[in-house]
């Protein structure tokens, strides 16, 4: 046991003496969460749109004013001809063009119907859809106003309640994801480097010859990083709560435990990566190239997993981050207790044991 403690102490010294790396390991997550918490959002505001008004009458003016008044839109320019639309889009600033047909007011009065084309630049389909929906909503409102004296019969009115996030703040969606990603990447990267560094410098052989069992070496290497990562996790959670006003509806204690579990799983993954890499460079490249994009894309952080093709949904199951995001959202936003997230917790636990087990096995193989 004493040997083990000595070994762990050495690992701590390594870390704390490398000031630059230390600064980065702590500074980075803080800087990133601050940045992303504020910047990552898909709420639209002040989107530049253009107007092509073939009628230029009182009604169209009124509608245009309504749109202009909305915080979501900003009218950048007027377009005179249909043939100009393409070049407007090509410049890249304007995201939508509203095309009012000729004789708009007249048609409304005569036929009770007039048409507006909502032409969006759908190279970003998500924004295009959102813009389309928002413009539509404004127009529906206006339409209601026009019809306020007419009673509409046989009306079914849905009353919609948004739960867990009534104000539809995108922060609630993204902050858990950002927390998870940063923790995962930092943890995996930290340990993957630690082991391959020993290999490259040759001190690994000293470890191999020592009386420490492989299991002890691996745990000893992970240990200091658990400590560091917990500090990171605490800072991240504190920032989320105080700066981004994330609620913690559920138990903080449970959140802490689950975070520790996740950290260990990420660290274990890092160790696994290092046992299959010959050099630091390889370990780092795998941690970053191999982990970063899959984690961002498949964890449900930004893109909903249920909308992905089935094979990818299956793959997403092996990414620890996916399960942890469900857990965080559950505890912080839904306020659930362990009885609702025991499945996800068990999965994380299983993954951790698997990663550590596999690492020990691979480490042993190198011994022989």
């Amino acid at each position: 046991m004493k040997r083990f403690i000595g070994f762990v102490k050495k690992e701590f010294y390594h870390i704390f003496r490398d000031r630059r790396s230390l600064f980065i390991l702590f500074g980075m997550p803080i800087a990133q969460i601050l940045l992303f918490g504020f910047a990552i959002t898909n709420e639209i505001n002040n989107v530049d749109i253009a107007i092509l008004d073939h009628s230029k009458d009182a009604t169209t003016k009124e509608i245009i004013n309504k749109i202009s008044a909305s915080k979501y839109f900003s009218i950048k320019q007027m377009v005179e001809r249909e043939s100009d639309i393409a070049s407007v889009f090509q410049k890249g600033h304007v995201k939508a063009v509203l095309n009012f047909e000729k004789d708009f007011s007249k048609n409304l009065i005569k036929d009770h119907k007039a048409t507006i084309q909502i032409i969006t630049d759908a190279t970003d389909p998500n924004t295009a859809n959102t813009i389309s929906n928002f413009v539509n909503a404004i127009l529906q409102q206006y339409q209601k106003q026009l019809n306020k004296d007419i009673t509409i019969v046989y009306q079914i009115v849905p009353e919609t309640r948004m739960v867990y996030n009534p104000e539809l703040k995108s922060v609630y969606m993204f902050v858990p994801g950002v927390m998870t990603i940063i923790l995962m990447l930092v943890s995996a990267m930290m340990t993957s480097i630690s082991i391959t560094r020993e290999k490259e410098l040759g001190t690994m052989e000293i470890l191999l010859v020592s009386p420490l069992k492989p299991f002890q070496v691996i745990i000893g290497k992970v240990f200091p990083y658990i400590f560091l990562s917990i500090i990171n996790a605490v800072v991240i959670v504190v920032l989320s709560i105080f700066i981004f006003k994330m609620p913690v509806q559920g138990s903080l204690f449970l959140l802490a435990l689950e975070s520790i579990l996740f950290i260990i799983s990420a660290l274990a993954l890092g160790i696994l990566i290092s046992t299959i890499s010959a050099t630091q460079q390889t370990a780092m490249m795998i941690s970053l190239m191999g982990l970063m994009l899959p984690v961002i894309l498949l964890s449900g952080f930004i893109f909903p997993i249920s909308s992905m093709p089935i094979p990818l949904q299956v793959i997403s199951n092996i990414i620890p981050a996916k399960w942890f995001i469900i857990i965080i959202k559950g505890i912080m936003l839904k306020g659930v207790g362990i009885q609702f997230i025991w499945k996800e917790t068990l999965i994380l636990l299983g993954m951790t044991i698997f990663f550590i087990g596999l690492s020990v096995k691979k480490y042993k193989i190198r011994l022989e």
């Binding site: 630059r20 079914i156 249920s306």
Partner: protein
Amino acid sequence: MKTIGYIIQKEFKQIFRNKGMLPIIFILPLLQLIILSNAATFEIKNIKFAYINNDHSSNSRALLDAFEASTYFNVLNNYSSENQASEAMLNGKVDVILEIPSHFERDLQKEKYAKLGITINAIDGAAAGVESVYVNQIVQRFNKNIKVDLMQFSDAQVQPITIETIPLFWYNQTLNYKTFMVPGILVLLVTMITLFLSGMNIVREKEIGTLEQINVTPIKKSQFVIGKLFPFWIIGLGLLTVGLIIAKLIFNVPMIGSLALMYFYTSIYILVVLGIGLFISNFTETQQQAMFIAWFFTVIFILMSGLFTPIESMPKWAQTITEFNPIKYFVEVMRMVMLKGSGFMDILPQLSKTLLYAVIMNGLAVWSYKKIN
């Protein structure tokens, strides 16, 4: 000039001899491009839907049938009470719950007015918004059909005023998210590879001692830097080429604009990334530090590039920061040229900023490389 040739030759040999790294540089990114691009979609499908039917009338059944028929919703369950349904939502089993009140049909026929209760899991605010739109669409369609059945002569015949909106989606009628994402992901991959390779390169020579050896030779700083950057520049362009082929063949991404323009822009863009990598490499002592710093910037650049969330949605100060993010320009140019056919003049702002960035960054990299301490 010849000296640069020797360095380039050495670098290429070293890169291709590194058996461990080759798959990471070439196969891994392309694999990711192919697989992960399929993940990128904001389309909302397979919405987990459940209902509580307190009415059990034929009309309520008809409404539920409409949801069953919809491809957006997966009708999973029906619950007998709100508590049951809420618990299911807490468990993550459902995301949308429709509650049909008792007397739904009666209210509709007698009072000509009925309500529906809809509860939506709004953690993902954007998705919730879309789900709400879909629910409303189905309800309104049902409403329209019902009116036709229920209308009697005694009912008012005044036709309401309708503003008909026709949504037109240019460049991507099917709202295929891949069209948007594939060029973007390609950008990311090219960036990551070139950044990490160049970032680690000089530090590695520092760590093994060959850098000192080179510093004692009469080689000029600029020759050294150019010789080191060139192979990675070629690799970056190579990756781009294969990536574009994949984009076209596998994902059918439209390639409307000028290919030459894309390559021209990319050549300059890669120089920026390499310059950053080299600059980092000059200031760090170990590969580990170089990697951490490169990682720090990469994550920030990637998430703030407008690839996943629009830059226009960011607060003003964040948008200012993105001015310094080379990836932002690349993503914009790729999308503009490839998907909309924008021309040289259209991308001139991005092009000139990137060029400036390249000059400054590489200048800094050369200047900060000290042959003499």
